[in-house]
Symmetry: C2
Subunit: 108 residues, 2 copies
């Protein structure tokens, strides 16, 4: 029985899960936009990004040539894969809910 999956804690943490979700939906997102989307401080977002980057899940692109320095975030292919895998696990959980009346032979 493999019904109970084990998640990637790096992605599972709410904040980072949200970051990944945003990046998964958009090709790229700006630091400030993400920070506001998940409602955390600069420092916190920066730390999350660092973790994701060190894991090779995202890539930071600093666009500094237009006067202002701005950081754009994007999932790497590894990041996409990891996130997709995590979501797949989650969907397996979802599958446990939807179907229905299991749990009949649970007397042992």
């Amino acid at each position: 029985m493999t019904a109970v999956p084990q998640f990637d804690p790096l992605i599972h943490a709410p904040g980072r899960l949200q970051i990944c979700a945003i990046l998964s939906a958009a090709d790229e997102a700006e630091f400030a936009m993400v920070r506001e989307a998940i409602a955390v401080s600069d420092s916190v977002l920066s730390k999350h990004l660092k973790q994701l980057e060190e894991a090779g899940y995202i890539k930071l692109r600093k666009q500094a040539h237009a006067g202002r320095q701005r950081t754009w975030l994007a999932l790497t292919s590894a990041g996409h894969k990891a996130f997709a895998a995590h979501v797949a696990e989650l969907q397996r959980l979802a599958g446990m809910v939807a179907p229905a009346p299991l749990g009949q032979g649970f007397s042992g």
Copy 2:
């Protein structure tokens, strides 16, 4: 943009998410079975269950008439609802991923 959901931390924690998943799949599950399924110590499981119970998400049934005392766990309707809602949020994330054929070639 409401693409970024906020999760119920009580359910989102890996251990408890797994507990809920198990209970969601079965009508009832035994303490020891769950403890082994999620690979934690008695004390840890007990504490998780206490939290879920205090939130009204699960109910403990002590069946002590057959000689040994055994505790059976089951989600309450509130628990089912909360878990389903959480999974729905998760599926919204999944929806952000699914559309595209990921996993093939990502030159990111």
